[in-house]
Subunit: 342 residues, 4 copies
């Protein structure tokens, strides 16, 4: 569990932890520009040019790969339903769940209002404070990740932020998650853990394109444009069981596998880990490079912390996938579980 | 706009308002027990006995009418999809939207973290503080409404609250919205405004069972067990256009219409108003009696502030309805838009 | 660390903890009314009559013992200043500090707004979510603690709560902490640990009136009406060092010592523990009885989690004490450090 | 009420407002760097060099002008107390108070926990979400305002932010308000409105050094090093009476008067307006230039939204001033009222 630069690999810090740890140090990274020694980087960086961020969906597009969901695609997905079985494969949002870095999830449910009227109506409600789009099972929108100051479709951060909004902005002006729309499409589960003959991939294992192809063939399936692909690593079995290990890094796809998925023209990629991709990246100078491949470069969404074991337990590999992001105006992400219907 | 007791009818207060108004006064109500004069109440009150709250779904049930969604029901709904068209008919969550009473919706989206790594990953996120299950388009769960201290399935408030949880409870122990599960069923839109030959029902109009039947016949549809029924009143056209009027009361179903829907064994009832039912109630001594008919008495869910005009504009009356409440452990409700697929 | 009923004594739960513990069980208590067996209680309970809660400061009083601070008392305190030395003896509010039960302290400090203008003004601010009056160094106001539904000066909870405030109340209508006013008076430190020839009193040690008198004589001081009395137990040395032990209970004054202080007509009582009083109480059927002696019965304030060691280190025993509660309208308490000037 | 560039001057937006207005436009400003035309600026900008930000209190200083409060200064202030009268001249924090831009103040006070034990202890508390250091009566710390990316004592923003703190920073690493310490010093009230023979200075009135000297002579006082100076403009009479006008701009000191105060080596400057200085600035290209004169250039603190009329009503011009910022680790400001003792 040591990074390429000899530092301990624990990029994730439990909210519960009393001590502060340095994310960058654990990633083996330094802040951009602070590196003295010369570096050799792979082709990822060669693509960090603004022109690479032009969207194929038009210069004003804010929906990204969700544009791939055509009526024909919806009907293709609907036709997968044979049994009328509905599976929710998200996690419960609760106190004590793993949280990234300094994030918080504070749900407060005092009781009770009333009774009102002669019919004695009483009511309860709840107050939540949280980074609502970035805790638990979460969907990463296009305002979440950029390359420097450039986001999806060459959108500049300065155009997203309301710089005149004194006292704090209340939503990004561009690429907000409310633009995405409901995702109703064909879902495919790739059981990479099973393909590798294990129940949980080891820490820091980089899933390759060959692994994805192997899992696909084992399931006798293909991946088609507009699909939502979920990857089972087994890492989710640590959720609420061993949060410390869960958050210390994760097995996941690398840049090569990410590009393979991009080439398949998918809409979104989910997994049972917290960041989709292998963390830390084997190239210790890269921070979340698969996030960049998907989100700013290709408008493809992430769905993190999914309970893919639910699909496995029900022997579901291909399904009608429904997920509707909360339409939080200008938000970067959304909570919410993916739903499979078979 | 005066209630039966001669008080102004504005049970709803804009978050933005500088002045405090008395909800009860505007409802023409007093706190239970504070009434000196004798009262004549209808049969609603005769039902306020604990035995009436026994669930037909078993003594331990926490899912209510969601139990009506069987695989056969799901398949029935799936078969309604012919075009592959997906309609989101929820509202955007945004600053300035109408909020009930003292509720808050504070979304804060500072930017930005990073850049990290030589690939210069930057990220944004958002902090939200809100009564998350009770703002905007919202789904009322079974922990939300009771009759005195008794909730659905004879659950006592004292059994729902963790009385030992010093410093504030973090979720109700019973009837939390995370128990509901995804709602995938047949949806039916009843255009009551259209049936009454108007675009918006007048303030305080009580929709009757006859109105519902009329709208149903006009659409040449029926209501079947397990359906989700959405009612278009036109009141939603005031949303973000005239919040003051929107929140001053509303047309909606009365107790009689509510019971008619209960008799149809529906799963949930949505509308384009903020409280489903006529407010204030024509019987000035009753506060939210339809909420009680649905939630504690019958385990039927409310879906408030829905954009039913989207269905109208697309000439959709019958559809595959998908809604998955956020699995907030122990919460009383959930945000989220209903999705129609046709 | 076992209570009289044989249950583990850890009434306090770290916010950071992943597991839930039962406060009542650890206190050796049950919810009022849930006890089947007959009980023998001391005179505390005999006083639980409403008439005992009449205030000596008049039927409309909302300031309690703060009324004891007369101009003459202020001048008495001012005359104690000889050196011009100012000591802040509160704790820093920070992530990781011990929190009672489910409470939260979430400070979020994104940067940055601007630059604005040709002069390039940039600014930062901070978002806080917390039980603001009940975290860290905290002052308990009169709306915080009651005996059943009765609070200070026979104020009923039903008169404090705005029952018509739908969607959550935004401040208690009576006894809010904004009524207290600044506390400028004579302060006295009682080093009970030192009197007992130790640096930290043992867990569950009940400080007696004799202990207080002993510490007082050792310091060659007296206690006068209107004084603010701070008690050094040494327990505060565990703060941020061993939060688990700190929060597992505490040495502190018992009911007898509390009454002795009441008889001295003090204004407030602070300490370096989190609840002023011995916890759990030796009488396992009592929950926070000293809180009741002070707050609802006598309008005397608590000041918890004070850094009394700062006074000791500076050899300060008698001082000008200044503390001004935040004027949060209708709040139950206030954050803020006590200030000693000598 | 038009700015130099012909735009309406309303730099402040009520939280309650339904519409969004452009702070910069109302200030007559554009974001730095977005100005095409050449500009002529006064000497303010000539000082925007890093070397100007060196602190006279040493290269590691984080306390700024608070260093001027020596024991001798404390004793000087203590000697001003003759009557034993204590005046709190802060505002109450409450719903509906004016808030800058998008800021929020959401206080939520559900009741009630308990009863616990046979002694029936009940308790209430409160949940607050707010930009805690930047709402209501507020004290601006040294982390609040910079010149570009440079803050007090040449501190770079990059050194203040924990760039590795994934998921949001929880306090600035440098210049946090917890470093300031209690302010116990001589206070002086300058009644500029009275000196100008009015009860409220007109909108956009720039208070000059001559005005300050005139008010000072009228009060037969002087300003000495280490003093806290409060300026009465009368603008505070609009608080909670006419929030719209209150927030549309304000009379206040200009750069020249600010520098005069700097030359007097004061510790802090308070006022009954929301931003201390004249807003908009007569030089339409400058945004909050007096904030920069005080905070980053000289380590002098602002105290905004003070109820200076309380001092006037009590005929107090010179007093013992006590203010202790909340020790929120790494925060940019603090709530809290100034206390005058005479």
């Amino acid at each position: 569990m040591r990074s390429a630069l000899g530092r301990p690999a624990s990029p994730y810090e439990r909210h519960e932890g009393l001590t502060r740890r340095d994310l960058l140090a654990t990633l083996g990274l330094t802040v951009a520009g602070a590196v003295a020694a010369p570096t050799r980087l792979d082709a990822v960086l060669a693509q960090s040019q603004p022109e690479a961020l032009r969207s194929p969906f038009g210069p004003d597009d804010q929906r990204g790969a969700a544009n791939r969901i055509t009526p024909a695609k919806v009907l293709e997905a609907i036709r997968l339903v044979k049994q009328g079985k509905v599976l929710d494969f998200g996690r419960v949002y609760e106190k004590g769940m793993p949280l990234y870095g300094n994030r918080v999830f504070a749900l407060y449910t005092p009781s009770s209002g009333g009774p009102f009227g002669d019919n004695k109506t009483t009511y309860n409600d709840e107050m939540l404070t949280a980074q609502i789009g970035q805790v638990g099972t979460q969907f990463d929108g296009l305002a979440h990740i950029g390359i420097g100051d450039t986001f999806y479709n060459n959108t500049k951060l300065s155009d997203m932020v309301d710089s005149s909004a004194a006292g704090g902005t209340d939503g990004f002006k561009k690429l907000g998650v409310h633009n995405v729309g409901p995702i109703v499409t064909r879902g495919v589960l790739l059981d990479v853990a099973g393909y590798k003959a294990t129940t949980m991939l080891p820490p820091r294992y980089e899933i390759t394109a060959a692994d994805l192809e192997g899992a696909l063939q084992r399931a006798r399936l293909d991946i088609r444009p507009g699909d939502a692909v979920y990857i089972h690593t087994g890492w989710g079995s640590l959720w609420m069981k061993d949060n410390a290990t869960f958050t210390s890094g994760e097995p996941g796809i690398g840049v090569e596998a990410g590009r393979w998925l991009v080439s398949k023209q998918i809409v979104m990629c989910g997994s049972d880990n917290w960041g989709i991709e292998v963390i830390p990246n084997p190239n210790a100078r890269l921070a979340f490079p698969v996030h960049q491949e998907f989100i700013p470069r290709n408008g493809i969404y992430n769905h993190e912390n999914c309970a893919t074991e639910v699909l496995l337990q029900n022997e579901v590999r291909e399904f009608l996938l429904v997920f509707a992001p909360l339409k939080l105006k200008g938000a970067t992400g959304s909570p919410g579980a993916p739903i499979a219907v078979v």
